[in-house]
């Protein structure tokens, strides 16, 4: 007997059209080192403005934001090799004079306040003060995470030369979806 075709309520065409809006790269799934490295290096193939200076900034910003999801996502999955990695979404888009990097992942509400406070502090500081803040935070212990430098978001803001845009959407009583966006203006590559 032929099985009845099941209705499939997700339109890949609509998703494709949505993703066509200046999106260079989008990814949703487990974020492990392979994914970060492959996407990070592939972004450089599609961001052609600005030469080596641009490539340095784009790669560094992408890698730090992706590592943030890797380390702090409240959703994780176990890979074939037994390792547990964070789940999240990474999107890079190009619009006019800038590239925008957005990451999203679920976080425990209990962990949200320090992240928001850190972003607010980062956005309130000028470059010299931000460098001082990075020095101060780098001196502190790594908060029990063997791969945490404690300064990832500060580094992102310094490298992108732009503030962090943070958005929090409640998912349930215990968790929220945290989205962090940052722009890199192409002017940064032209000015020395």
């Amino acid at each position: 007997m032929v099985k009845k075709k099941e209705k499939y309520d997700f339109s890949l065409y609509e998703y494709h059209n949505l993703m066509n809006q200046n999106i260079l790269v989008s990814y949703k799934g487990p974020i492990d080192e392979r994914i970060m490295t492959v996407i990070g290096e592939n972004i450089l193939l599609v961001t052609n403005d600005g030469g080596d200076k641009a490539k340095n900034k784009i790669f560094k910003v992408f890698m730090e934001l992706a590592q943030n999801v890797w380390l702090y996502s409240a959703e994780s999955c176990k890979l074939e090799n037994g390792k547990s990695v964070g789940l999240g979404t990474l999107v890079v888009s190009e619009c006019g004079n800038s590239y925008t990097f957005v990451t999203g992942n679920v976080v425990n509400n209990a962990d949200v306040v320090p992240v928001i406070e850190k972003c607010e502090t980062i956005n309130s500081l000028d470059r010299d003060s931000l460098r001082e803040y990075r020095r101060e935070q780098r001196r502190l212990a790594n908060e029990g995470k063997p791969n945490s430098g404690n300064i990832g978001l500060i580094q992102v803001a310094l490298t992108a030369e732009s503030p962090l845009d943070i958005e929090l959407t409640p998912v349930n009583d215990d968790e929220s979806f945290l989205s962090i966006a940052v722009k890199i203006s192409k002017d940064n590559f032209r000015n020395s």
Partner: protein, 129 residues
């Protein structure tokens, strides 16, 4: 007891392992390539321990050379640990030279090196390539 040299060949696969050459006889210690590791603290701890051993027992002049084209922020914390050992040695009268080579297109790296100088109090020769 002789302090053994450290030689680690760098790789650029899923993670990026830096090339490490710490020579106990010449005192020339080089860290180069890229650093993005599965467990950063675990990788760098033996390097910090080696420097402590060298600077407290062998006590010869040391030339520390960094040529990293990319390192993530967890590595940046470990670099601070390495430089702090060198600063302690210098404060105790040890002869320390630090040469940090960076890609001239990477002005963010130049700023970061300047911040390490402020943070550690070490004089770092900042050399573009």
């Amino acid at each position: 007891m002789e302090l053994e040299n450290i030689e680690i060949e760098g790789s650029h696969k899923n993670f990026f392992t830096p090339t490490v050459k710490f020579d106990a006889k010449t005192g020339i210690c080089e860290l180069s390539g890229e650093s993005f590791l599965e467990d950063t603290a675990e990788f760098y701890k033996p390097l910090v321990d080696w420097l402590v051993e060298f600077t407290t027992k062998i006590k010869r002049p040391i030339a520390f050379i960094i040529k990293l084209t990319y390192f993530n922020t967890s590595t940046s914390r470990c670099i601070l640990d390495l430089l702090n050992v060198l600063k302690d040695y210098e404060d105790e009268g040890g002869e320390v030279t630090v040469n940090w080579h960076y890609d001239e297109n990477d002005s963010d790296m130049q700023e970061d090196i300047e911040d390490y100088m402020i943070d550690t109090g070490l004089n770092i020769n900042i050399i573009p390539f």
